[in-house]
């Protein structure tokens, strides 16, 4: 079913919207959640929560990219679960690893004076990524938005794990410099 037809079901409050969304994007959303949480069971719970969030938010929202909209719901939901569970357990998904990687881009200081507006930062990130060639942008997004394991990125892009690791290292350096030049003290 086309995305426009699925969205139309949401607007009609037809519960087939949930079924069609699960059929088309269930695997996609679950894989994002599993990348972050590491467990099939947690990923399935996240998927259910994401579908409920979609039902509650469409309408009034009418997403232009339904996949990204749903993916974001799954990502946010999984990340919230990760934060709640962090005190009790570590490991499992990719998130701990990639958070360690992202730490290279920031100072880890957390002061009131140094507070950064998250929306402004997102805008800057969009600016940085928009300026990258497709291949480089794709690798960055797969790792840090989709939380995809490096081995899986390597498989999907046809490159070696070593080259993906080095490419991400270079992108993090480039991003840090880009943000610093634009006055982001992070």
């Amino acid at each position: 079913m086309e995305d426009s037809e699925i969205i139309a079901l949401y607007f009609k409050r037809d519960e087939r919207a949930i079924e069609e969304t699960r059929k088309k994007y269930g695997g996609y959303c679950a894989s994002i959640a599993k990348n972050i949480l590491g467990s099939d069971e947690d990923a399935e719970e996240c998927l259910s929560d994401a579908l409920l969030s979609a039902w509650n938010s469409i309408p009034p929202n009418r997403p232009e990219y339904l996949s990204s909209y749903l993916g974001r719901l799954a990502r946010n939901n999984a990340f919230n679960r990760y934060k709640l569970a962090r005190a009790e357990k570590r490991g499992g998904g990719q998130l701990s690893l990639l958070l360690d990687e992202l730490a290279e881009c920031i100072s880890c200081r957390d002061t009131v004076e140094g507070a950064v507006d998250s929306h402004e930062l997102s805008r800057a990130l969009n600016g940085y990524l928009s300026g990258l060639p497709d291949g480089r942008r794709k690798i960055f997004v797969l790792r840090y938005w989709y939380a995809m394991p490096i081995a899986e990125i390597a498989k999907k892009t046809g490159k070696s794990r070593f080259s993906i690791t080095k490419a991400l290292e270079r992108e993090r350096k480039g991003l840090k410099k880009y943000l610093s030049e634009r006055g982001f003290e992070i």
Binding site: I106, G114, D134, V141, F162
Partner: protein, 239 residues
């Protein structure tokens, strides 16, 4: 900012960027033969226009660590330097090229050695060498991952204390000055020659610039034969 907050900020990427990154199954099996032929004709026509237009033959070099362009004016390289104890840390000059429609680049280093690394692991590599040719190809996204690392031999460097400071200088000219010639061939058959000049500064840093260049008879280092490629399992061991 905490790294979790940074991860959340990454969540705010534009939808089209997110959607475009997700790997898709290959489509197109349903295209009719007529449509495929039309697409092929368009590609050939576009390629011919590029070949005759002479566009897309500019090449620039960027320092690997900082992303700064190596210009004709030149700048101090900050990726590495020689210290007052005689040690060298970092990579004084590691760079990559950006451009369009580059078929290949032949690198020739006069005095020191250079190391080519292909982070995509698709091209042959040569270890530390002085002359070699790198195929670039149509995929300009890959150019960023093709790095050249200039590896100076610092054994002929002199460290001299002068008035409380330390002056770093070469024992002979080959230690303080070098040139890397780039013979560039483009996909349309055009050719260009550029050279990166490198010089050692008194504080141990290196200054580099890149300009158009004309090879003369005096440049016998350019005539040296290309190095033989070295298999990756010998260069890096098993992955």
């Amino acid at each position: 900012m905490k790294r979790e907050e940074f991860f959340e900020a990454i969540g705010g990427l534009d939808d089209n960027i997110i959607a475009a990154a997700w790997p898709r199954e290959k489509r197109g099996m349903w295209l009719s033969a007529g449509i495929k032929a039309a697409c092929a004709a368009l590609v050939i026509a576009a390629g011919s226009m590029l070949a005759f237009s002479g566009e897309g033959t500019a090449v620039t070099a960027y320092a690997h660590d900082t992303g700064e362009e190596i210009t004709s004016v030149g700048a101090v390289m900050t990726g590495g330097k020689i210290y007052s104890d005689g040690s060298m840390k970092g990579h004084p000059l590691m760079f990559y090229l950006e451009g369009e429609n580059i078929e290949s680049v032949r690198f020739s280093c006069k005095n020191q050695k250079i190391r080519f690394t292909d982070w995509t692991e698709q091209r042959e590599e040569y270890g530390s060498a002085q002359n070699f040719t790198v195929p670039y190809g149509e995929n300009e996204d890959e150019y960023y991952y093709l790095t050249i690392d200039w590896e100076p031999n610092i054994s002929n460097i002199r460290i001299s204390p002068v008035n409380g400071a330390v002056i770093i200088s070469p024992l002979d000219p080959t230690g303080g000055e070098d040139i890397i010639v780039l013979e560039i061939t483009f996909l349309n058959g055009d050719r260009a020659v550029k050279a990166i000049n490198i010089s050692l500064l008194e504080d141990g840093a290196f200054f580099a610039s890149m300009k158009d260049y004309e090879i003369t008879e005096a440049d016998d280092f350019v005539s040296r034969p290309d190095a033989e490629p070295i298999p990756r399992d010998i260069l890096y061991g098993k992955d």
